[in-house]
Amino acid sequence: MPREAEPSINERAFVLQALEENIRLDGRALDAFRDIDISFGDDYGVADVQLGKTRVLTRISASIAAPYPDRKFDGVFTIATELSPLASPAFEVGRQSDLETHLSRILETTLRRSQAISTESLCLVAGQKVWSLRADIHILSHCGNLVTAASLATLAALRQYRIPDTSIKGGELTVYTPLERDPVPLALLHHPLCITLNYFENGEKMIVDATLQEQQCSEGEVVVAANPQGEVCLVQKGGGGEVDALVLLRAVDVAVGKVRELGKVVDRALEKDSKMRDKGGISAELSAENER
């Protein structure tokens, strides 16, 4: 039966010994990220994030639905995570694992509860029609730090997504195709990201962006979500050994710095993508002239 590859006693001892000497197995500094690569699909709202060997793909889609009866002015935003067996032998089809719940709850708190997406802006006709926005997160390869990779992919996809333009005339709703009117970006109020910190030696040592092996050897992890403005959206420490309050404060400081760093990476990726999509206005697009 497939299962998670548990590190052996030797591996565990070696990882801890190396960390004691401030060495990480891949030669990174304790607070360094692995290589981050963000790419977008041909359609709007598909982001593929590679964080070292961890790979997450998020797809945003929108459909029109009826709002919840008690929230007539709010659109719907759902996050669905999918941990397929191709990512790790520990993942099974059709069974919701703890990791899956953990992941979607953290992302939900980070994005929805912090009001990063204003659900009111998704309302079309009060009480009747709203946009139902859905983020499907696919874990393609699991090599540690899924939370950061998933939050990067989801934020990048949300920021890149364009929702169809609509208008209401005489109580009648019209949804325009991309040919009739350019789709519009989503109303995002701020851009939060999650950072995972794993701690060792009773919280004395913190590392950022742990690989799966480091994660398995660590005493516990703290997830901090914040936006580049330095506003903390979530601090979560589920299980693991106890840590000092000051350690948590330090973790938040480190995380905010890292969020700024990652925010810039997302900005750069989006800029590159928009440059690639921009063909130079409608006249350039309609022109039959081509480079010979």
Partner: protein, 244 residues
């Protein structure tokens, strides 16, 4: 000496390149990656290098596949998962079922002197039997001589993952000539270390300190991932040694 040709899945192997043994009674042996379609067609099922051994009248396809499937006589590095009355259940890869390691399958082990392995211990073992329908059985000694021949519990050190092709090349008798690997020989000139290569894509390294152990492991992984030739490997190792 084996000669090599590139084959693709579904391609037929031309009868001209089949080995010509001096002994006409010797049957042709088909190794991994080949399929016999009666009466006399041989097709390859994977892409890779077709290797031909004239002396043994054997042909097989070598490719860098991703998943390890236990084969008899393979040397592997496994982790003890749990122990039952007579067997240790060991994990070879996370995908396969547990392999059974009899508690007496060690050099000179008797009921009273058998080694005590905890869950999570690393062992270097040989696959005794492996089939599709039963759990593989592994042993830590050579049944014909009763000697351990380097197998047994691996103490200390660190395990690194490498590709299966790399593991096979490392296990060749002439690493530099046949396998095209110079990493270990180069490092050995400067740093002393112990190494055990598992056919399941794992290599165990033990050296004086963390830095030295990491040097060996990372040099192997780099050479593997980047697909370096002998010259480039030598350059890589020199650069890495200078950094340490």
């Amino acid at each position: 000496m084996a000669s090599k040709t590139l084959v693709l899945p579904g391609g037929t192997i031309s009868p001209d390149i089949l080995p010509n043994p001096t002994n006409p009674n010797l049957l042709l042996k088909l190794g991994p990656g080949l399929r016999h379609v009666p009466p006399s067609t041989i097709t390859s099922t994977v892409a890779g290098l077709l290797c031909i051994d004239q002396k043994k009248n054997a042909i097989w396809v070598e490719n860098n596949s991703g998943r390890y499937i236990p084969q008899p006589n393979d040397l592997i590095i496994a982790t003890v998962h749990h122990s039952s009355t007579d067997f240790y259940s060991c994990s070879i890869t996370p995908h396969t079922t547990f392999a059974q390691l009899p508690q007496l399958a060690f050099e000179g082990a008797t009921k009273k002197t058998r080694p005590q392995l905890n869950s999570g211990s690393l062992i270097y073992a040989r696959v005794l039997t492996a089939s599709k329908h039963t759990d593989p059985e592994i042993v830590c000694y050579n049944p014909s001589t009763g000697k351990s021949e380097g197998m047994g519990e691996l103490k200390g050190g660190m395990v690194f993952n490498i590709s299966m092709g790399m593991a096979r090349r490392l296990l060749m008798a002439k690493q530099r000539e046949d396998g095209g690997i110079a990493v270990l020989e180069e490092i050995a000139e400067k740093v002393a270390f112990e190494v055990a290569v598992g056919r399941n894509g794992k290599v165990w390294v033990k050296s004086g300190g963390v830095k030295e152990t990491l040097l060996v492991g990372r040099a192997l992984q780099e050479a593997d991932v980047q697909g370096l030739g002998v010259e480039e490997q030598v350059r890589l190792v020199r650069k890495m040694i200078r950094q340490v």
